[in-house]
């Protein structure tokens, strides 16, 4: 599940689903009170809107629904709500960085901290840290007991118990191409490094049960494969992209390049038969029985393939990652063709096209497909391709209620942040 999907699943039944509209915060007042109000962040349940604000003396605070955190900060950015709706920020105090959670600062302070990630339930919060001249992770205010020469990225397991990071394990002096070719990178899982070293490692993923870690690896200068728990697949490829575990744990899939074409492999064996010009963004239906990916069926002809069957229509510019409906029956994706964006659902593009379209939100059954869209600078909510009368200065992704009957809309209108719940049947 993507972070975005996880967010939507967490505690939704407890949210206020009463139909109606509410002004949550007057942003105009905030703007009047501070020299600057930075980018807004909204909680998944729509109850809170937050932003870093800058006072006249240049000091930062974090404002939530118009109220500011008490702590004065030298800087605050990267505001994110956890899936369980706690507000986090990366903050600098006394020239050191840390994480603030609902205004409380972690005890650990570092020359730099960045790239916040959460477990699916939101209870685990992690960041990358610079400690001295080395790098590590800090999880729930507790640093790993080992530092590394560099960490490029990391992943947290859904339950937050495990973390896997791409780590540099061999020091390189300037232009030491020989040592580099022998392998200077590996993966650290809960701070323990794999024995194997690789020329390159990318995009770690952890299995849904938290038991396995997979990465893309470069085993030789021109040989790539997937490594699972430190062991590379036997097959070697011209290139690979990010792997993905089937949701129920069995099977690790990855796009692989052989000759000049791409296909999908599972556990090192061919899965899909069709050779594609490109294949990436592999996604699973929630129960895991269907697999979708973005493919190029020909040079510059992009579409979605579901279980190796490409949609009938293709798009010239780009197709974004496919999104399954919650019941796994439908697949939709944001697509761009001749400079305009729309959403395609099961191979059918909407009849309306927009300046920009965000990833669609697809509920269960035959309910409408929703997407945040932008035209001439104004945001709107598209419902099966049609945008209603409401225009927004800002808009966040809509969310269906657990039964799909209602939709939560979070947006800014006339300088006010508004939380709105509408009946799905009345949309559009």
């Amino acid at each position: 599940m993507t972070e975005r999907e996880t967010e939507r699943e967490t505690g939704r039944e407890k949210w206020n689903w009463d139909v109606g509209s509410r002004n949550v915060a007057d942003l105009g007042k905030l703007r009047a009170a501070y020299t600057d109000v930075h980018e807004l962040t909204v909680s998944a349940d729509g109850e809170r809107v937050a932003a870093p604000v800058v006072a006249e003396d240049g000091s930062f605070r974090v404002a939530v629904n118009g109220e500011v955190w008490e702590t004065e900060l030298e800087k605050a950015w990267h505001l994110k709500f956890t899936p369980d709706d706690r507000l986090t920020a990366l903050v600098r105090v006394d020239d050191m960085w840390t994480v603030a959670v609902e205004g409380e600062l972690w005890e650990q302070r570092y020359p730099f901290a960045w790239n916040t990630k959460f477990s699916a339930d939101g209870r685990t919060i992690a960041v990358q840290i610079k400690a001295g001249m080395e790098y590590s992770l800090c999880i729930n205010d507790k640093p790993w007991d080992r530092n590394f020469l560099s960490i490029r990225n990391y992943a947290l397991s859904d339950d937050g118990r495990r973390a896997a990071a791409l780590v540099q394990v061999v020091e390189l002096v300037t232009a030491d191409t020989e040592t580099f070719a022998e392998g200077t990178w590996s993966v650290a899982v809960d701070s323990e490094t794999w024995d194997e070293k690789f020329i390159g490692v990318w995009a770690p993923v952890i299995s849904p049960d938290g038991e396995h870690v997979a990465v893309q690896t470069r085993t030789e200068r021109f040989a790539y494969t997937i490594a699972l728990d430190g062991a590379p697949w036997e097959s070697r490829y011209g290139c690979v992209w990010e792997p993905g575990f089937r949701p129920r744990g069995e099977g690790l899939l990855a796009p692989v390049r052989t000759g000049a074409s791409w296909s999908l492999a599972e556990d090192g064996e061919p899965l899909w038969k069709t050779p594609y010009v490109q294949l990436w963004y592999v996604r699973f239906s929630p129960a895991g029985e269907r697999v979708a990916a973005v493919v190029a069926t020909d040079f510059g002809r992009w579409t979605v393939a579901v279980d190796d069957r490409p949609w009938g229509c293709t798009f010239g510019d780009v197709v974004m990652a496919p999104v399954f409906s919650t019941d796994g029956k439908r697949v939709a994706a944001a697509v761009r063709h001749e400079g305009r964006w729309t959403v395609a659902v099961d191979g059918e593009p909407w009849s309306h096209w927009f300046d920009t379209v965000w990833d669609p939100v697809v509920g269960a059954g035959r309910g409408p497909v929703l997407a945040k869209v932008k035209n001439q600078g104004a945001y709107g909510l598209a419902v099966d391709g049609r945008v209603g009368a409401q225009r927004y200065e800002h808009l966040w992704d809509p969310t269906f209620s657990p039964d799909g009957d209602k939709v939560l809309i979070r947006g800014v209108q006339s300088g006010k942040y508004i939380r709105r719940v509408v009946l799905t049947e009345e949309l559009g």
Binding site: H38, Y135, R152, N153, V318, K374
Partner: protein, 436 residues
């Protein structure tokens, strides 16, 4: 005297004729070989391309440096011998492909048949790369792209920290200035090359001043993909080239920006608009890509910035190959330069006919061992620069910039260089409300 480069010398010791033959024949598949043979067969040895090539002209018309000779003596022999060439032969071919041709494509413009010498040179580089015979310094840069996405081993925190530091610095000049990181739905995502955060951080502050004054809704990504440079494209490592171009575009697509604007760099433009998308299967860039020259042009034309001071000293213009011969931006470049300077002295030749700086195409990234060879091969540019009598050369490309700096140093020319943005921020009006 032979130049020592561990990238060549260590590879030489390991190469076997069998491996060379296998690699050459894998790259020169039947279709590719036929195309290359056709190019070479079409050539009528008229010599027009020789007179177009700065290395040939700079090296006293040494026939070995004529474009067609560079490919005939390397790729031509590989084709003829079906890959059965020696390691020593490959070392020489690598030197020619990496050092004596930057793929500037000037020769093709003069060839009556448009024979694409640069593509053949890049094919040789691909073969060399597969054989591990790549100049050490450009290989190191490619390694950096592989490990870090960016060209100069910039750590992820150093990137973000530098952007924040430049934002704070620039706020001392322009009130309310921001460098918004990761702003979804911004009109523009701006990308830079890694030497900017590493050694030329002021350029980031400069662009922030411009964006703020022009009221551009812009952002920069905090995650990898912020670097638009691509030396893997020139070292022959197409897999890494594709990987980093994907990451670069992915940042812009995730943020759903309206367009990407890149700083004053030529090769990065080529990588993001042509070579990268092509390898990935895109027919062009997935979102509009605008070079800095086009951005400045648009902002000036739309009156979103106003130039209040103009330079009066004689100024000349280096036309970067990738954005002029490759993209036709010379008129827009002139528009911007004339807005900034009263006394423009054109180089002769100019526009798409201008000579390359000999730094692009990855040559300058081959590093110190090859600096003298590079400078010998660009004497013609020194003559051309001197003739203008200009005291300032505008170089809207990082490679041109450093290439021309080296040329004026080596050939003792009394001239400075400048990016456009450096002049713009100095000569532009800061509206009253934004004054500090």
């Amino acid at each position: 005297m032979a130049v020592a480069d561990p990238g060549f010398d260590l590879a030489l010791a390991k190469l076997t004729p069998e491996r060379i033959e296998q690699v050459i024949n894998s790259v020169l598949s039947q279709a590719v070989a036929e195309r290359m043979k056709l190019f070479l067969k079409t050539c009528v040895h008229c010599g027009l391309c020789a007179d177009a090539c700065h290395t040939y002209l700079s090296r006293n018309r040494d026939p070995d440096f004529a474009p067609v000779a560079k490919v005939r003596d390397t790729l031509g022999v590989m084709l003829k011998k079906k890959g059965r060439v020696s390691p020593e032969f490959m070392k020489n071919a690598a030197r020619v492909a990496f050092i004596e041709c930057g793929g500037c494509r000037r020769c093709s413009m003069y060839c009556p048949f448009g024979i694409d010498i640069a593509t053949m040179i890049m094919t040789i580089r691909r073969i060399c790369s597969l054989l591990g015979m790549v100049p050490q310094f450009i290989q190191d840069t490619t390694n950096s792209h592989s490990a870090t996405s960016n060209q100069m081993w910039v750590q992820p925190d150093d990137w973000i920290d530098t952007v924040m530091w430049q934002e704070e610095d620039a706020q001392l000049e322009v009130a309310g200035l921001r460098i918004p990181l990761d702003k979804e739905g911004a009109e523009v995502m701006y990308s830079v090359i890694a030497p900017e955060p590493k050694v030329m951080a002021q350029l980031i502050a400069n662009i922030a001043v411009l964006m703020t004054v022009a009221k551009v809704d812009w952002t920069m990504p905090s995650a990898d993909g912020w670097d638009n440079s691509n030396m893997a494209m020139f070292s022959g490592d197409l897999e890494i080239m594709g990987r980093i171009e994907r990451e670069h575009w992915e940042r812009a697509l995730e943020l759903r920006v309206g367009k990407m604007v890149m700083g004053e760099c030529g090769h990065a433009y080529r990588g993001a608009v042509y070579d990268g998308p092509k390898w990935l299967g895109w027919q062009g860039p997935p979102l509009p890509m605008v070079h800095a020259v086009e951005l400045y042009y648009d902002l000036l034309r739309e009156g979103r910035i106003e130039i209040t001071d103009k330079l009066t000293e004689p100024v000349t213009i280096q036309d970067p190959c990738n954005i002029v011969r490759g993209r036709g931006l010379h008129e827009k470049l002139r528009y911007v330069v004339h807005a900034l300077c009263d006394n423009v002295v054109e180089m002769d030749p100019k526009f798409e006919h201008n000579y390359c700086c000999a730094a692009g195409g990855g040559i300058i990234n081959c590093g110190a061992p090859w600096k003298m060879a590079r400078l010998k091969s660009i004497k013609i540019k020194a003559t051309q620069l001197k003739k203008t009598g200009a005291s300032l050369c505008i170089t809207p490309c990082h490679n041109c910039h450093h290439g021309v700096v080296d040329i004026i140093g080596h050939y003792h020319i009394d001239m400075r260089t400048s990016f456009l943005i450096e002049l713009i921020v100095k000569q532009m009006k800061i509206p009253e409300g934004l004054g500090v």
